[in-house]
Symmetry: C2
Subunit: 420 residues, 2 copies
């Protein structure tokens, strides 16, 4: 079975590299002739772990997410490297729908795999790893792992934006893992087992469950809805736009002389955005649509047409007012208003129960991948926080910036280049 | 469209009443010839809202859950009745995959439906309503709604069990709604819109998202796994056992002379059980299996055989020790050790992120339906809390007991009999 699965991995990798088409990274178990996996579960969607880029970025956005941030608790470079190698090994197993540790069960030991995903298919699981600025310079200002000289210039803790209300216990971290799958139990299982493997080396700092995707990363997917009931991110970067991905998403060799290890990688921006849904729900549809600049039913720009038609920011009503308001979200966030910069958004709706005030604690776990956060995210967020009419209904409560290394080949491990 | 959907509802109701088979309550949109619903979404699993019993109890357990408990904030009986009528009306729409309020969109008003489920199919949504003891006697001891004389004798706040560590803000409530669906966004949308309809009459007290079912309520379903990696609840009551359902699940006319309105209903026990998964994960497989009394791989009792074979509690090893240990979960919880009492368990795995200690805040949101909690749940939980070897790895952090009225017919509303 090991050989068969590795073959799938290799085929996925070579297919991707050869065709240059990101969509080729998908390998369905059934197509690969794998038949049954785990305990009698039918083969189901499986994405190759290997490739020039990490999976879980241009992969068509899965339905559910579990995101985790970790503090490294050791000062040993060797143990940190061993953790990344262990995580890579486990990620190969998890994304193939196999048990961690090969499923061996010596009775006298704790099981290598925690077991709650036995019988479940791979469920499209992807695991995407990143490193935070604090890995390079710890809280005490020291360079614990001798990596300081390789820190990418853009990998800085995100600045304080206007109206930020960040909870430090939901922000930042030395390492992150984004687990996306169509079954949340599979995503949970992955993070739990990676957390377990990290015991003594890294500890969970914060985590976030996302119950519904809010973005499409492939033109084959419908734009989903956020908790304000709107389609947002229609202009999102898509896997099929290969030229645009190179321009806006993937770090290129030469982008940052200090961080050649990041070529083929990208930056992950995470923002936990609490939504004041009770207040929003008392707003008229007219006002809601004005704030977004799109109609709710179809997501069409208020300048007319259909969802994917280009918004006409010059169109005005008979009284001369712009059809798409000056402070509307679609206008302020649109690439045409931001020096042409685009992002690959990959966020999820979340709920964490209720606040003590009887309000639902719910919102958007915003995730975006960009080639350069200093150009593509920070200026935009400064604009949105100051001018976006939507901001009145939002509160940013968590934040993180991570650099995601490139993907790995058959013998590689995540982050290898950083330690080379 | 309204007429077509009502027809499905009625057909489901009559089919159920006629055949007496709980499984008949399922009506697939495609079979009913409904074609498309909402915005172009294909017809998908839909359960009839109407019937002699509420849906969401013997309904084959859906994959995801969102549970909510409410405090009634009015002292007006009329407003409470109006809320239950509004909730019933909305539940008919939501479970049919339609927008709340018929989808009308006057621009000058807030939309009747919050919109995040537009385009999603019904996704097997069921909504199950219950009333808590405090609805009959408020926190200040008063009978706010003139219901005191109709309070079922068994509807008392659950007692403090040994080792309970309950958080009042995750416990009890005047009303509860269990939303189960195969898409968590659909379940969230339902609870959000019911919460919104309750504004000014009832306020969210606590809520819980469950990401993976831990129970089967139909013999057509595989037993799923809890976060300890085990199959638990193999002996669960199943929808197909109609005689057993009448004996163990449904309140019968005459059970409680004060509460004839509850005939055809049942009691819902909710317990938020935090699992010490990090400690469990350091336990040997031998010890884990000894604690459960089943093997992990298949869920077979340690006395031998396969998952659904009856455990032999008299079987011993060569040294005379019982193969299924005295303090094992399967022994203590088995009907044969509990005067033959059985429950219909319908719980879900949950995670609420991490605790401040870097541990995962995860566990089991235990839900069970019983005809009489005083006989079927309280003695069992007293036994488990004192003797079950599993208890060392658990902490009960939330609790609630609710009485779920019977189902409704085409013109009925939930709880109607209580106010008659």
């Amino acid at each position: 079975m090991e050989a068969g699965l590795m073959q799938v991995g290799r085929r996925g990798f070579l297919g991707l590299a050869g065709a240059g088409a990101a969509g080729a990274a998908v390998a369905l178990g059934a197509q690969a002739g794998l038949g049954q996996r785990r305990t009698g579960a039918p083969a189901a969607g499986m994405y190759a772990f290997e490739g020039p880029h990490q999976a879980g970025i241009v992969t068509p956005a899965q339905d559910r997410m579990y995101f985790a941030s970790f503090d490294v608790t050791t000062r040993s470079r060797e143990r940190l490297v061993a953790l990344l190698q262990d995580w890579t090994r486990a990620a190969r197993e998890l994304t193939a729908g196999r048990e961690v540790g090969g499923g061996t069960l010596p009775y006298a030991d704790p099981p290598a795999d925690t077991g709650e995903a036995i019988g479940l298919p791979a469920s499209g699981l992807t695991l995407t790893f990143g490193v935070g600025p604090s890995l390079f310079t710890g809280a005490d200002g020291t360079d614990r792992f001798g990596l300081g000289g390789r820190r990418p210039a853009a990998l800085e803790t995100l600045p304080h934006f206007p109206k930020d209300h960040l909870d430090p216990s939901r922000s930042d971290g030395d390492l992150c893992v984004q687990a996306c799958a169509d079954d949340p139990q599979v995503a949970f299982h992955a993070i739990r087992n990676l957390t377990r493997l990290a015991f003594g080396t890294a500890a969970l700092r914060w985590s976030q469950l996302g119950f519904g995707r809010t973005s499409s990363t492939s033109s084959s997917q419908e734009t989903p809805r956020n908790l304000f009931g709107f389609k947002d991110g229609t202009a999102n970067l898509k896997a099929e736009e290969s030229g645009e991905l190179d321009r806006h998403l993937w770090v290129a060799a030469g982008d940052d002389p200090r961080a050649d290890w990041l070529a083929g990688g990208t930056y992950l921006v995470a923002r936990r955005i609490s939504m004041r849904i009770e207040t929003w729900d008392r707003t008229s549809l007219r006002e809601q649509e004005g704030i977004f600049g799109r109609d709710r039913a179809q997501g069409a720009p208020l300048s007319g047409g259909r969802e994917f038609d280009r918004p006409d920011f010059t169109a005005t009503s008979r009284d001369g007012a712009p059809l798409i308001a000056t402070g509307s979200h679609v206008r302020l966030a649109h690439p045409s208003q931001n020096d042409g910069h685009r992002m690959l958004r990959r966020g999820y709706n979340y709920t964490d129960g209720d606040t003590s005030l009887g309000r639902m604690d719910a919102g958007l776990f915003f995730v975006a991948f960009v080639r350069d956060p200093a150009r593509q995210y920070i200026p935009l967020q400064n604009t949105l926080a100051r001018q976006d009419a939507l901001t009145e209904y939002l509160q940013h409560t968590g934040s993180g910036l991570f650099a995601c290394p490139p993907g790995v080949g058959p013998d590689g491990w995540i982050g290898e280049g950083l330690f080379a």
